[in-house]
């Protein structure tokens, strides 16, 4: 059977992109145009060797506002990596489109920084060399010293100042991923994309890198999209958590707002009033509901717009 015909839906109608500078600042930032818009995204692998075509996901639609941190939670095999690769432009969807800052994504570009699960550092370059490779790509007009200073700034930011001249083979896994994060940030992208960046690390290292990421994203207000299957990681880092149902034909089941205050820390997480309601909600989804998400019809051009959920506090027993 031939692959399904290539359909590309028209971009969603949106409010005007630029905010009129004469007006006072928008009091409802949520209504500002989103930085990234995923519209009716579908991915189907064509039929092969007697196998029917394999639909990984279809009708994915969601948006990400500038400065927000969004985590994607879902079981293994539901298509998270494929979705991230499409956002990065490394892979083409079979349906739908991704629009970043008003422009359709057609391939990889420097306005998206990608952090890979297995670091993808070049072993023949030092830490500094890996970062300057990125900086020189982003700012080819800069002088060598300027590029070097810029790279060193980000190496300091991830706490690797001492190791700038080391080769990746001399670093631990956690340090390697710090280099990966520094490289992603050094190109000052509109959007940072991370595919289980801490998934290959041991629990202790993962914890300290979670703190580090939390500090960096609150400092830099970097818009980020991160795949994880660690619920606490999502609760600590994310402003919004996108829940994906099990594949094949995966859909986005819902998008959960993180009710925890911005001052949350990893150690204090479980003291937050809303921590357990949120954790229970997410856990309940992964354990029970992710396999039975109802597939609503796909709205032509809009896909399936998932509900945005605000988790309710646990009902306090009445006196």
């Amino acid at each position: 059977m031939p692959p399904p015909p290539y359909r590309r839906s028209p971009p969603m109608l949106q409010a005007p992109l630029a905010h009129d500078p004469r007006l006072p600042p928008d009091p409802h930032p949520a209504s500002a145009p989103p930085l990234i818009e995923v519209i009716n995204l579908g991915l189907t692998y064509p039929a092969r060797r007697g196998q029917p075509p394999f639909c990984v996901f279809e009708g994915l639609s969601f948006t990400i506002q500038k400065g927000k941190f969004v985590c994607l939670l879902g079981h293994s095999g539901c298509g998270k990596t494929s979705l991230l690769n499409i956002l990065a432009g490394l892979q083409k969807p079979t349906d739908g489109a991704v629009v970043l800052a008003g422009k359709e994504v057609t391939g990889p570009s420097l306005d998206r920084g990608v952090i890979f699960q297995h670091y993808a550092l070049m072993p023949w370059r030092s830490v500094l060399g890996n970062i300057t490779f990125a900086v020189r790509s982003r700012y080819p007009q800069w002088s060598k010293t300027r590029g070097r200073e810029h790279a060193l700034k980000y190496i300091e930011l991830v706490g690797l100042g001492e190791a700038a001249n080391k080769r990746p083979s001399e670093l631990s896994g956690g340090m390697k991923q710090r280099v990966g994060i520094a490289r992603g940030l050094a190109i000052e992208p509109l959007m940072l994309l991370m595919d289980e960046p801490l998934g290959a690390l041991d629990a202790l290292t993962r914890g300290s890198l979670q703190d580090e990421l939390r500090r960096i994203v609150t400092e830099t207000q970097q818009t980020s999209f991160m795949i994880t299957h660690d619920i606490d990681e999502a609760i600590l880092l994310a402003d919004r958590i996108v829940l994906m149902s099990n594949g094949p034909n995966a859909v986005i089941a819902e998008i959960v707002n993180n009710p925890l205050p911005a001052t949350r820390t990893r150690e204090g997480l479980h003291h937050e009033a809303m921590y357990y309601p949120l954790r229970n909600h997410l856990m309940d989804f992964l354990v029970a509901r992710s396999a039975h998400v109802e597939r609503t019809t796909i709205h032509p051009g809009k896909g399936r717009v998932p509900p945005i959920i605000d988790v309710q506090p646990d009902p306090t027993p009445s006196p």
Partner: protein, 275 residues
Amino acid sequence: MEYVKSLIVTLLILAALLGVWAAGTRDGVADTSVDPELAALLGPSAKGESPVPGPEDVGAAVWGHLKDPFYDKGPNDKGIGTQLFFSLVRVLGGFGLAVIVAVPLGFVIGSSPLMQRSLEPFIQILKPVSPLAWMPLALYVIKDAAQSSIFVIWICSVWPLLINTAFGVASVRPEWLNVARCHEVGWLRRSFTVVLPAAAPTILTGMKISIGIAWLVIVAAEMLVGGTGIGYFVWNEWNNLSLTNVIVAIFAIGVVGMVLDQGLAGLTRLVSYEE
């Protein structure tokens, strides 16, 4: 400490080999029953001398060559250094031309599965051909003995270079190429800053293999075409019945081959990386 131990063992083995060699080539008692004039005609064996020179003969000859390696007394009498120099020039010339052709071509083959598949049969058929089989064709077409041996070196160096370069380029980790794509790195910059450094250890291993084969082949090629070179030197000394000089040449060829190999091994170490 390990190094000292292995050095001691090496010296012991060397002493044993020299001892066996000296014992095996010791002159016997002269057979006095043979008429001295006949003995002179029969050569060293009749005089009770071993036909194979012993270590002391070779040592003296080596010393003689080392004192004056570069003399030139006409076409059939040149110093061993001069002859080695001729051979080295041919090997490095043919090898250099092979690098110029095979590395870029291997780059193209390695980065395109289509080229890989379509050139595979040619490489598979031409690679196992002994480079000396090309010699008559080369002599006929080029009509110059020295250039023909350079061509023979070229053709034997090309295959390992081509195959290793293509393999090295084809096995560059996709994640590094994805990093290049995500940074909008153009074709040229990607080739020089990602693909080439990633494939460099494999390419240099190919060079090491190539130059080893080239050094093997040059001796045979020069024996065939004659004129100059260490191969011709060996052949000429065989015609002069000077086994001592043949043995000296064997050592000289071994030493130069080792230097070439170690040189490229050092270069390989420079570009290799630990993942």
